[in-house]
């Protein structure tokens, strides 16, 4: 075990993948000479050179599409998109090609690409750099959506993603990059089909992923002080959802609050809530609660941004509304 940051863990993962497999290369805007917009790929350009740490023009559609083509051509591209908002410029390629080619070719063209992007708010980057659209992507069959939330997952999810024969979108919450945590040195590839219970509890299941995991864990601690024993489920993968873990947890606690930095309407939290009612309706002792971002484009002003995002207080209130009082 050693203490490291999420950013360094991700960088270690990239370096290891580049060292282990010649087919792996990283491409994206300013991943090379600049070291990555968020510094994730700092130093890799020097070690692996401009062919494998490939700076691209600001052409999200072309370089994501090129990643898809390269994957079809036998490579294992890792494509970095600066933020999830920019990925919309490449949405055609992600949706109409990466997610779809295997199926419309009758199983001939699998696309082993990993697309990494920053997601989420919390850094006053306003309405075109701060959204959480991973839930949107989770709507699309053919994609795997993963959301590392811990240092270990940042370090060890990438390899599993690269081993996947199909496209994987990896969402890194911007607020997590500087987060420090204990890194398990030889954990090895993470099973991306499985959610993780980050805290066991008996009274309520707090279901979340990615950037809101620390918030939820903090809320769980606060609840513990009030005599409420919360279980925290880190989804890790938004598609495919680990129904077994979600439903299993709710079946134990009989109450659920889904915490999702995405907007509430038509969100992954809505999907999870629906699955809970479909799967364990008769285990529910309260309606499923949700804590989501306010339905506004993310504002710049600090206090407004904070007000728009899921918070410990918001989670505590949602738990209280379930009829749970310590």
């Amino acid at each position: 075990m050693s203490t490291t940051t999420y950013r360094e863990a991700m960088r270690d993962a990239l370096a290891a993948a580049l060292r282990d497999d010649d087919r792996v290369f990283l491409m994206g805007e300013d991943v090379g000479a600049y070291g990555g917009c968020f510094g994730v790929s700092l130093g890799l350009f020097e070690e692996f050179g401009p062919e494998r740490i490939r700076d691209t023009p600001l052409s999200e559609a072309a370089f994501v599409g090129a990643g898809i083509g390269a994957a079809l051509g036998g490579m294992r591209p890792i494509v970095e998109i600066m933020t999830v908002n920019f990925s919309l410029l490449a949405l055609d390629q992600i949706m109409n090609n990466a997610a779809t080619l295997l199926h419309m070719s009758g199983g001939q063209c699998n696309v082993p690409i990993v697309i990494r992007m920053t997601t989420g708010a919390g850094r006053q980057l306003a309405a075109q750099h701060s959204h959480s659209l991973e839930g949107w992507y989770a709507h699309i069959p053919g994609l795997r959506i993963v959301t590392p939330a811990t240092v270990d997952d940042a370090r060890w999810m990438l390899q599993t993603a690269l081993d996947d024969p199909d496209p994987v979108l990896l969402f890194e919450h911007g607020a997590l990059y500087g987060a420090e945590g204990e890194l398990t040195d030889d954990l090895g590839p993470v099973d991306l089909d499985r959610a993780a219970v980050r805290r066991s509890g008996t009274d309520v299941s707090l279901i979340t992923y990615g950037g809101t995991l620390p918030t939820v864990l903090a809320a769980a601690e606060e609840l513990a002080g009030r005599g409420i024993d919360a279980e925290v489920v880190d989804l890790r993968t938004l598609r495919p959802l680990d129904d077994e873990a979600i439903l299993g947890s709710v079946a134990r606690t009989h109450r659920a609050v889904v915490v999702d930095e995405g907007w509430r309407s038509g969100s992954i939290s809505a999907e999870i809530s629906a699955r809970i009612t479909e799967g364990v309706f008769y285990e529910l002792d309260a309606p499923v609660g949700r804590v989501c971002s306010a339905e506004v484009p993310m504002p710049y002003a600090r206090h407004l941004e904070i007000a728009a995002l899921p918070s410990v207080d918001g989670i505590l209130q949602a738990v209280e509304e379930l009829g749970l009082r310590g």
């Binding site: 008769y282 529910l284 002792d285 309260a286 009829g323």
Partner: protein, 454 residues
């Protein structure tokens, strides 16, 4: 081939839980045999079969709660003729939304009736809001289903057709449709623990019952479930039945002297309570006054048989009023035996279906509690309730001189739709007269006596 269906055992029963099968496939049954025990909100009830035949497949497992009309078992070899020849089946006191003049025998659900019970949430809501009695509403939807328009066009059952103000909703979150607001988990736990949710006070939002509110075991719940059942039945009675009231004071001097002598002469187990005299007198009088004996089921259905309901207070609260069939035909000893048996079973929660649904008139006797008189609330679909207060001494003019006599105040609450005061008065007078001739009263087939009227 016939079906044995979940019977409706009262106007307020929508579903029942099968507690016990008393027969097995292959058992021959005759009409009237008790074949199963059903749990309702009020009581465990032994239910009978209405056909001759052989029990075929059992369709519902013990412990299952099903809506009224759901087939519970098949009956092989049952004939239509057998089904028709059930004239002594009492009419169905259960709701008949689509009002056939000649309803099917009780327990045999028809499609229309089943369909009529399918009520959409909006229909329930509207009916509740507008005080429309869905039980008496014919549905125009497919299969007789009651539609929103049916409710909107229906007369309100509140006084003067004006919607009564919404009743205060109690903490116990039971809307008018009888469905309790609860979490799904609580609902499931309640089913597993055989707890009636209507009896549970919820701690959740809007009084919703949460899992923690569901007690570990059932016993306390029946009372509250019964309270609700009584509440519904009595509210319906006061809503639907135009009551009128009469009272008279009956001299019991002769009857009690007679009884004292009789009881002294016989073993303690054969002693007869004074109440039995009152019951017998009421039953005999009722037989002669069909305007007050029978049911209101889509119109007046007088009965020539007397199935005498007896209000029995339960320990710990609650009230049931099962009946004694043919009470007018019994000797006092027989009636006493029947009353003792019925009281014991009622208090043990084991009343038979027929006793539950059969009564044609009911007696309530609050004499033990020392009240002078009782003004009863008629139990739908019956037509009258006879009440007795405490036997007490009064100074009466006897043969032109004051005399202290034991008396009882007999009262009558009757349905003005089927009788007028003159008939009610005749019934009370007849009761009083019969009580002046205990010997005649004790005969299994009493004849009219010309006894004095107080």
């Amino acid at each position: 081939m016939g079906e044995f269906c979940m019977p409706s055992l009262g106007a307020d029963m929508d579903e029942g839980t099968l507690l016990e099968w008393l027969v097995a496939p292959g058992d021959p049954v005759r009409r009237g045999d008790i074949v199963a025990v059903i749990d309702t909100e009020k009581s465990d009830i032994e239910v009978e079969v209405f056909e001759d035949g052989v029990i075929g497949e059992l369709l519902v497992e013990v412990g299952t709660t099903v809506p009224v009309g759901t087939p519970l078992a098949r009956i092989e070899g049952a004939t239509d003729a057998g089904r028709r020849s059930a004239p002594t089946s009492p009419p169905v006191p259960a709701p008949q939304p689509v009002a056939p003049a000649e309803g099917p025998p009780r327990g045999v659900a028809t499609t229309a009736r089943t369909a009529g019970r399918v009520l959409s949430p909006i229909v329930r809501h509207l009916a509740d809001e507008r005080h429309v009695d869905l039980h008496h509403l014919a549905g125009t939807g497919p299969g007789g289903v009651i539609t929103r328009r049916d409710v909107e066009g229906a007369p309100r059952s509140g006084p003067g057709g004006v919607a009564a103000p919404l009743e205060h909703r109690p903490t116990r979150a039971t809307p008018a449709d009888g469905r309790t607001r609860s979490s799904p988990y609580a609902r499931r736990l309640a089913a597993e623990r055989e707890v009636s949710l209507t009896a549970v006070v919820g701690s959740g939002p809007g009084g919703a019952v949460l899992a923690a509110d569901v007690p570990a075991a059932a016993p306390v719940d029946r009372d509250a479930g019964m309270r609700d059942a009584i509440a519904r039945a009595m509210a319906r009675s006061k809503r639907d039945i135009p009551h009128y009231y009469l009272q008279t004071t009956v001299d019991l001097g002769v009857a009690l002297d007679w009884l004292r002598t009789r009881n002294e002469a016989c073993p303690v187990v054969e002693r007869v309570l004074p109440a039995v005299l009152l019951l017998k007198a009421t039953a005999s009088a009722a037989a002669e006054h069909p305007a007050l004996n029978g049911w209101w089921e889509d119109g007046h259905r007088p009965s020539s048989d007397v199935h005498l309901g007896v209000a029995i207070a339960l320990r710990g609260g609650g009230l049931v009023a099962p009946g004694i069939d043919g009470a007018d035909q019994m000797s006092l000893t027989e009636l006493m035996t029947a009353l003792r048996d019925l009281t014991g079973r009622a208090r043990a929660g084991r009343v038979r279906q027929r006793e539950w649904t059969g009564p044609t008139i009911t007696v309530t006797n609050l004499g033990d509690l020392g009240v002078d008189a009782v003004w009863g609330v008629i139990r739908p679909p019956q037509l009258a309730m006879v009440g007795f207060g405490a036997v007490h001494d009064e100074v009466l003019a006897v043969d032109g001189a004051p005399a202290v006599r034991p008396v009882v105040v007999a009262s009558l609450a009757a349905d003005h739709r089927t009788s007028d005061g003159i008939e009610g008065a005749a019934l009370l007078s007849r009761i009083a007269a019969l009580l002046q001739d205990p010997d005649a009263l004790d005969r299994p087939h009493p004849h009219p006596t010309g006894g004095a009227t107080p």
